[in-house]
Amino acid sequence: MMRNSQQLREVFSDFFVRHPQPDGRVRIPLGTSERVADLRGLQNGERVLLVMPGELQAEATVIGEPWHGTTYWYGVLDSIEAIQDITPTPADARPAASAAQS
């Protein structure tokens, strides 16, 4: 069954550091579950929605790797084009404004 972005668990990322891979995918470092609450309970291979609130989002698959005695989590994007700009635009506001007037 297809799942849309609204049904995926959300994990914060600011998308600042992006590691392009030779196959075109992009690894984004997320952190460790000891330090970051929204990483707790993640499963290797889980699909998540990486979100920078009010700015950016991207669907990703999470992978965990050994790191200093714990697990460091990465979000893997299919490509750099998976990053969507979700900043509100005047066009986004128009339907609500129209509805309010009607």
Binding site: N4, S5, F12, D14, F15, F16, V17, R18, H19, P20, P29, L30, G31, T32, R35, V36, M52, P53, G54, E55, L56, W67, H68, Y72, Y74, I80, E81, I83, Q84, D85, I86, T87
Partner: protein
């Protein structure tokens, strides 16, 4: 080995620029800073703080071009403005040199109180940073894709 820091006493605080991706004026800006601050750095385990771009003598345009950040807006500040705003609420700044394979000028900005790095970003420190940051459209972002 400890991650090296920039000697802020030796920088031209009225000329040096720091850049982050995103809009410091948007509704969620404080939350974004606080979430970003607490993430441990995979390459520098001893470092806590915010990803920034900084290079002595670099222009805003040079740093924005290097970052190729996907955000619609960038937030930037003079180093001196950041130092002044956080000092006004009792903090100091620490700027770690934390280059990544893709971003040679990546630095990590941490907040100090009583000489120690804050493990999380307090509300008043976050608000001080936001007061110092100015927002511009990002000329180097990829074109906006329609949402599915």
């Amino acid at each position: 080995m400890r991650t090296p820091t920039v000697d802020l006493s030796q920088t031209s605080i009225l000329a040096e620029v720091i850049v982050r991706g995103g809009n410091a004026n948007q509704h969620d800006a404080r939350t974004v800073l606080q979430h970003a601050y607490e993430r441990p750095d995979e390459l520098y385990p001893d470092v806590t703080g915010l990803s920034t771009l900084f290079r002595p003598q670099a222009t805003l345009d040079e740093l924005a071009r290097e970052g190729q950040l996907p955000n619609a807006q960038l937030s930037w500040s003079l180093l001196g403005d950041l130092l002044r705003e956080v000092a006004a609420v009792g903090y100091r700044l620490c700027l770690y040199r934390t280059p990544t394979p893709e971003l040679q000028d990546h630095h990590t900005l941490a907040i100090l109180r009583n000489g120690a790095v804050e493990p999380t970003l307090p509300d008043d420190a976050a608000d001080a940073l936001l007061r110092a940051l100015r927002v511009i459209d990002n000329p180097y972002k990829p074109p906006k894709r329609p949402r599915p």
